[in-house]
């Protein structure tokens, strides 16, 4: 160990604990003391966070102590930015011990959305040495006219969980904030803390000023070799593994046994409703009443804090959780992670497993529980990747234009904005390195007047140029609007869930004011409910009573099984890497012996009755079933790409006269059904499969469908909110009546008809193509299977097709046939309606 780096006070503190500083902690200290921005890549449990803070703690300890009673420093020395506010709060608590035990005179504070306004105000006039906060708070601080003073003496920025931040619009917002901070304090150094990723060079570039779009500047890097290899198993259940579904109910007894055999178990699931279902089922069989808790993002905050505290205090034996727990919060003594359902990505799985065991020298222990047969293949592929140490983290994204619009308004709120200088500043960030001047100017024009070709709003402009040509906000109200709108997370509209007495049980009196709030639920989910429908929320079965303003009234019910299933699939599609592994596994019967026997038998049966999908080809099966004809294909490219493909193929088949009626997609396969005999249409050559899957399907067909698609409208709404075109809905506003809120759908329609090249429509398209449609992946698929499509005519459903057919009725069925649904609904009632 280099004794010179660590001051005595720190050495003694380490010694007193019986610890010694780890080599990577010292290496990072060394880099920072030489003024180098540095990326630290380390597995969980390596003491990443302490390593990140060590350079600043050392630097501040050498600053000398302040006179008692003095106001303190004039500016912030160190910023710590984390994707989760809970994480910032947690870290502040953890720093408390070393700082006070070493007797360091360092003030550390947090600033999140929950920080009271008087404290936030005080932080501006009398800033702490270290501020622990989130990207949104950085944006807010930078929009303040006093931001230059506040950050002028900034030395270090620590970016925690950087791998998770950079792949979202929050990462774009942060990148823009960093560019501004570097301009205010050019000497500042950045530290990125990251889990292992596929492309570390992306993160290294993100950390530093980019002088030139052609060259990519990179930070230094400190890499910690992976700790002990994790000890991962796939659950070997004696139960029959289901064909489809996501509940993993077959493995409940196994789960309960695992919980009993370990101190603390963390059970990860992919969606909120899965968490609800597993939690409820576990309690049903919890004969020993083990303390098992539930944690997901929709639960009431107080409830979540309680679970977190109980977990940290060692009072729980198990927590069923969604990805709200995915990131690096220290959860104490977890000795087993159970991943229920498909891992979706190898790196994702590794990060989840890292949650168990914060001591990197011991292997983390994890059990994967696939919920169905396809998921077994996926788990097997993820397991193999984990053993090889392969990573499939997503690539860095191009900076989004709606985020840029928001940022530009924020900059103008902080003071006069010079377009030339700001353009250079923006381009100095990694994510906006390639931004063209013309695009920048259009975004600026959008912020000022809406950016319309029809220049009729000049007199209402939000930004106006002063005599020096700098842009200033036209009115202080604009800054207020900005502050209410800041951030890139546009939640789906949520309704509060409030407990009331059931109407069914008592008198017919109107429902009273009701009891406590259980949490929040998506508006679209409530919209599909009728009074009396039951569903699971917060670990219990609830009965929907009524909708009152922005609250869903519910009552408790004795019913055991909820009527309304709410599984809507995970947010994350199967990674390209895992998809490829699964295709390989399927095409290689020799590899099946590592799979459970029943799965091997299933695949052999497929081989006998139909064909196996080839690794780089596409198998298309057609068969009749009851009065319909089905086509099933197996691209293995993830549900988003499959949904897009399904939509496009249906359109094409409709034009070719095949009369498709609907389709359903999951991560592995796609099924389309219709009235005409698809087998004969394909075999006779009336419809050529090569033409059907021709790459030109991504051209006009896609444009035509998208224009009308509700998916585009949803995406547009998000972009419009982030860019500040429409105001965020804030709690309480709903009461003014829904007819006065302008529907973003209507704005979309008008804009598309009159100015289809508007910058916001461009931004919407970019978003949709990248995220929701997975266009690039679909393009790769179509190129890969070209000339390699195999059609097999079957007399009945094949073993491999069973899972996707079982999804019908569970997953939403697609098709844009709104008019025909209305027609069906209206026609049988038409006589009745007319008989008025």
């Amino acid at each position: 160990m280099d004794k010179g780096l660590l001051p005595d006070r720190f050495k003694n503190w380490f010694d007193s604990r019986g610890w010694s500083a780890r080599p990577h902690q010292l290496a990072l200290l060394d880099q920072l003391s030489s003024g180098h921005s540095t990326l630290l890549i380390a597995p969980t449990g390596a003491g990443k966070t302490l390593a990140g803070f060590l350079p600043s703690l050392v630097e501040l300890s050498e600053r000398g102590s302040r006179k008692p009673g003095s106001i303190g420093s004039t500016g912030i020395h160190t910023l710590y930015i984390s994707p989760l506010k809970a994480l910032a709060v947690d870290i502040a608590r953890n720093l408390d011990a070393p700082v006070s035990e070493m007797g360091l005179d360092i003030r550390i504070e947090t600033r999140t959305g929950d920080t009271p306004s008087h404290k936030r105000q005080r932080q501006k006039t009398n800033p702490p040495d270290m501020l622990l906060t989130t990207p949104e708070q950085i944006a807010l601080l930078l929009s303040d006219p006093a931001s230059e003073k506040l950050f002028a003496s900034l030395e270090t920025i620590i970016l925690d969980e950087l791998h998770a931040l950079v792949t979202s619009k929050r990462g774009d917002l942060l990148a823009l904030g960093l560019a501004r901070l570097r301009k205010i304090a050019p000497r500042l150094k950045t530290i990125g803390l990251s889990a292992t990723v596929a492309r570390p060079e992306d993160l290294r570039a993100y950390l530093v000023h980019q002088p030139d779009p052609a060259l990519r500047a990179q930070s230094h890097v400190v890499q910690v070799a992976g700790g002990a290899a994790p000890d991962i198993d796939i659950l070997a259940s004696r139960e029959r593994i289901p064909w489809s579904g996501h509940s993993a109910r077959y493995a409940l007894d196994d789960m309960y046994q695992l919980i009993k055999n370990h101190r603390v178990t963390l059970l990860f699931v992919n969606t909120r409703s899965q968490a609800e279902a597993v939690f409820q089922e576990l309690w049903r069989i919890n004969e020993e009443t083990l303390p098992i808790a539930l944690h997901h993002g929709s639960l009431d905050v107080g409830q979540r804090r309680k679970v977190e505290a109980a977990m940290a205090g060692g009072q729980l034996r198990a927590v069923v959780a969604t990805s709200s727990l995915d990131l690096g919060i220290d959860w104490g003594d977890i000795d087993l992670v159970v991943n229920i359902g498909a891992p979706k990505g190898a790196s994702r799985l590794a990060q989840r497993i890292g949650r168990a065991n914060h001591r990197m020298d011991e292997p983390s222990k994890a059990v994967l529980i696939p919920a169905n047969r396809f998921e077994i293949l996926e788990c097997q592929a993820a397991l193999a990747a984990s053993r090889r140490g392969d990573q499939d983290t997503p690539d860095l994204r191009e900076g989004a234009l709606d985020v840029l619009a928001q940022h530009l308004l924020g900059l103008a709120c902080s003071g006069p904005l010079n377009a030339d200088e700001t353009y250079c500043e923006i381009r100095s960030s990694e994510t906006y390195r390639h931004l063209e001047r013309e695009t920048f100017d259009r975004v600026l024009d959008f912020v000022a007047t809406g950016g319309y070709a029809l220049k009729s709003y000049e007199r209402y402009a939000r930004l106006k140029q002063d005599k020096d040509g700098n842009w200033r906000i036209a009115h202080p109200k604009i800054a207020q609007q900005y502050r209410l709108n800041v951030g890139t997370i546009v939640e789906a509209p949520m309704l509060k869930v409030r407990l009331v007495k059931s109407k069914a049980q008592g008198r017919r009196s109107p429902i009273g004011r009701g009891g406590r709030v259980l949490g929040e639920i998506e508006e679209w989910f409530v919209e599909q409910l009728e009074a009396g429908d039951t569903f699971i929320f917060g670990g219990e079965v609830l009965r929907f009573e009524a909708l009152r303003e922005n609250e869903a009234f519910v009552s408790r019910t004795r019913s055991q099984s909820p009527m309304i299933p709410s599984y809507m699939g995970g947010k994350f599609p199967l990674s390209t890497y895992l998809a490829k592994s699964v295709r390989h596994m399927l095409a290689t019967p020799a590899s099946w012996k590592q799979l459970p026997k029943q799965v091997g038998e299933w695949l052999s049966l497929q081989q006998q009755n139909s064909k196996l999908p080839e690794e780089d080809g596409l198998l298309v099966e057609t068969f009749p079933r009851s009065d319909k004809h089905y086509m099933v294909c197996y691209p293995f490219e993830g549900r988003l790409a499959h949904q897009t493909l399904g939509m496009l193929l249906t359109k094409r088949l409709e034009r070719l006269g095949a009369q498709p009626m609907g389709f359903v997609a999951n991560d592995y396969a796609l099924s389309i059904w219709g009235l005409r005999d698809l087998s004969t249409l394909f075999e006779s050559g009336q419809i050529s499969l090569d033409t059907l899957f021709e790459e030109d399907i991504l051209g006009d067909d896609l444009d035509a469908w998208l224009a009308e698609s509700s998916l585009m409208k949803r995406t547009f709404r998000n972009c419009a909110v982030i860019a500040g075109l429409i105001e965020r809905r804030h709690p309480g506003q709903e009461k003014s009546g829904r007819q006065v809120t302008i529907s973003s759908d209507l704005i979309y329609d008008v804009l598309r008809a009159h100015e289809p090249d508007h910058i916001l429509l461009n931004a919407t398209w970019n978003d949709a193509a990248e995220g929701l449609l997975d266009i690039s992946r679909l393009g790769e698929l179509l190129a890969r299977i070209k000339g390699r499509i195999t059609h097999t005519r079957l007399s009945r459903v094949s073993p491999l097709a069973v899972p996707i057919l079982l999804e019908i009725g569970r997953e939403p069925i697609y098709g844009e046939a709104m008019e025909s649904i209305l027609e069906d609904a209206a026609d049988d009632l038409i006589t009745e309606a007319l008989g008025q």
């Binding site: 209402y460 939000r462 604009i478 105001e727 007819q739 709104m818 649904i821 609904a825 038409i830 007319l834």
Partner: protein, 244 residues
Amino acid sequence: MKLLPSHMSDFNVVPVCHDIQINGQTIGLHDSGILWWPEQSTLVVADLHLEKGSAYARRGVMLPPYDTAATLEKLAAVVYAFDPARVIALGDSFHDSHGSDRLPPAYRAMLATLQLDREWIWITGNHDPIAPVRLCGEAMDEVTIGALTFRHEPREDDHDAGRGEVCGHLHPAARVRRYGRSIRRSCFVTDGSRLVLPAFGALTGGLNVMDDAFSSLFEPRRFSAFLLGENRLYPFTAARLIAD
């Protein structure tokens, strides 16, 4: 920006209506959201909300400035298709009192062309309580023609007022559910005595007919909604409709 003559318009208007009886009169409901009274050669349109975009822009919310164009294009297509002797704009024709003043010259000319050779009545509404400026047509608070009375806001106070009342203001919309999916559309709503028209303007949202605002106008479950569709209307009795 587009300002096309009717024969080049994007809106393909087939002047075929869904006939119903209101207070004994046979009138036609059209899928564009207008009412056509053949006996009087009268076309009625509600809640145009022209210049809504610029009304928001004044407050710093830069909605697309194309709503007036979109609304007028659609209106022109309908007016030319029916060629009525009289047009009644049923109030809230402009989003605010200054809306008619802000109306850009091109749209002003377009509207004037549309008004040629026909009587045009601007019923005042809560958004536009004064007569529009520098525009043809007569402004009035309400008008009674034969058995029908046309006013912006339905009268709740007087039970008899509903008889033969044709109004707008509420922007009715209805939701139906079928095959597990729910569909929400603008609609006409009537009990055979009173009729509420859907809002016609491009940026106008809708209020569900199951909302309390409608319960003082129609007896619960004793009314029908006619949902706007493509080239037709979809009739539903109240019992088949669901709240938002």
